[in-house]
């Protein structure tokens, strides 16, 4: 259970205070997959970084399993938009890095990392270096690294944002089946793509800009397990289109208000 209450974050930008997010309150239940979506500058990445414990909010609080967080914790793991792999370590050591940070012995962490690499489809790439892999494969390493520490909560910051459309689709499909096949865990997924959010999530948090705030929270009315066929379904299209146009309106309003 993640309880986000009254969260606010004020940065200093060019000497003046800039409100990144204001009064954000969301509860995320155990085992729930929630996407956070909104126009650029709505503070969705800031929100995720606060949940990850990498940023300290200027007001409000985040509690995980009833306990207020003060920094990163073993029950949370983060997947980064730009993969953020160690370029000087091979795939296996990268996937084992979270376990290494937590002090696990070499053989044990490598064994666990190898298991996770197999789950994300990177069997046989253990001794490759990140530069030898495509973006999609690098992000698979990023996901394996996060899964290896067996977190209750997986935080994902636009994990497929840097990938081409085709790779992206494949990654979504694989993440979905990985999610449905593995032990239940909570997912928080930041994205720009409404299709992606609807396809993957149980619930969608729509955020708006200036200040970054929650506009609306929408339950996704499709059960699990899901697969690609869902996306061809008329109900899915109607729902995704409805939310997409909503997002588009928000973005237009933001643009015209910037013009004033």
């Amino acid at each position: 259970m993640i309880e986000i209450s009254g969260l606010g974050m004020v940065f200093e930008r060019e000497g003046r205070p800039f409100v990144a997010i204001e009064d954000v309150s969301v509860d995320i239940a155990d085992g729930e997959f929630v996407s956070i979506i909104g126009p650029s500058g709505c503070g969705k990445t800031t929100l995720l970084k606060i949940i990850a414990g990498l940023l300290r909010p200027t007001s409000g609080s985040v509690a995980v399993n009833g306990e207020q967080i003060t920094g990163p914790g073993p029950e949370r793991a983060l997947v980064f938009q730009n993969f953020v792999l160690l370029p000087w370590a091979n795939v296996l050591d990268n996937a084992a890095f979270g376990l290494e940070a937590r002090g696990l012995g070499r053989d044990e962490r490598r064994a666990q990392a190898a298991t996770q690499l197999a789950r994300v489809g990177l069997n046989g790439f253990e001794s490759h270096y990140p530069r030898e892999l495509s973006g999609g494969m690098q992000q698979r390493v990023g996901i394996a690294r996060a899964l290896a520490v067996n977190p209750d909560i997986l935080l994902m910051d636009e994990p497929f944002g840097a990938l081409d459309a085709l790779t992206r689709q494949l990654m979504q499909k694989d993440l979905l089946s990985l999610w449905q096949e593995s032990e239940p865990r909570t997912g928080v997924f930041v994205t720009h793509s409404m299709d992606e959010a609807v396809y993957l999530s149980d619930r969608i948090v729509l955020m708006n800009t200036r200040p970054g705030r929650v506009e609306e929270t929408v339950d996704v009315p499709f059960g699990r397990p899901r697969n690609r066929e869902l996306t061809a379904h008329a109900d899915y299209r109607t729902f995704a289109n409805y939310l997409s146009s909503k997002l588009e309106t928000m973005q237009r309003d933001d643009m015209s208000s910037r013009n004033e």
Binding site: A52, G53, L54, G71, P72, G73, P74, R76, A77, L78, F80, N82, V84, L86, P87, W88, A89, F97, G98, E100, A101, R102, G103, Y129, R131, E132, V149
Partner: protein
């Protein structure tokens, strides 16, 4: 075409070697035709002198005398400089505290500090080591620090998200991330240390290789003077070659 059959890297080597040979030939021609052999000896004379020197124990003991402070000052500058550079690259406080001192040392021709060192520490091994150290330290610190600042900041966020301890952060992120910078720092610092070593012996304390140079200069033994200078160049080149090899080993993950 035969030239196209030679690989690019070999072609570069070939051009480099030809250029070197042309340079030596020009020297020889100039020495034979125009110059006074007292000032510009021929290549042959210098080569003979060089081989003679190699056979003399004086030559080797001069190098031993010179290399001792060089190694001490050099090692101290590398260890301290890299440590300080790593710290400066990561901490705004450390870089704020050291910035004025480094700016001062960087602006000042280090040779002017040699008399100061002599007053403080005399002319023995310690003093000479200090001069070598002073010549190298600033470059080592600054080059290392800029190498650290070049590390992708997201890597530190990633480490933090897994609660990475500071020791692992140093060995798994900072050191490998700054490896290129550290290697460059060692290379630049070594060059500076060689300068410091020679300057000290020529300017102030006539010992070691510097003493040989002064002696052959004062007695107009031009072939020997040139041979000693040549030996210094060979020494510096050999050190650079070893360092470059180490650098390649350290950066093997880059694959270039």
């Amino acid at each position: 075409m035969t030239t196209l059959a030679i690989p690019r890297s070999d072609r570069r080597l070939l051009v480099g070697a030809s250029s070197l040979i042309i340079g030596i030939l020009l020297w020889e021609v100039y020495a034979r035709l125009a110059a006074d052999p007292v000032f510009i000896p021929t290549v042959g004379d210098v080569s003979v002198a060089f081989l003679q020197l190699l056979a003399e124990p004086d030559f080797w003991s001069a190098y031993a005398t010179t290399l001792e402070p060089f190694l001490i000052g050099w090692a101290a500058a590398i260890v301290l400089g890299v440590t300080l550079g790593l710290w400066m690259g990561r901490s705004t406080i450390a870089s704020g505290l050291s910035a004025p001192h480094l700016a001062f040392l960087n602006a000042l021709p280090i040779s002017t500090l040699v008399p100061v060192v002599v007053i403080v520490a005399g002319i023995d091994l310690l003093a000479r080591s200090m001069v070598v150290f002073l010549f190298a330290i600033v470059e080592v610190v600054l080059t290392t620090a800029s190498g650290v600042r070049y590390i992708d900041p997201d890597l530190f966020d990633m480490g933090r998200s897994f609660s990475l301890k500071w020791g692992k952060r140093l060995t798994r992120i900072i050191l490998p991330g700054a490896a290129a910078g550290i290697a460059a720092a060692v290379r630049v610092g070594t060059g500076r240390a060689v300068v410091g070593m020679v300057v000290m012996e020529l300017l102030l304390v006539s010992v070691g290789v510097g003493k040989l140079i002064s002696r052959y200069r004062d007695t107009f033994q031009a072939p020997r003077l040139y041979a000693v200078v040549l030996s210094l160049a060979i020494f510096a080149l050999a050190v650079q070659a070893v360092l470059r090899r180490l650098e390649q080993k350290a950066l093997i993950w880059r694959g270039d």
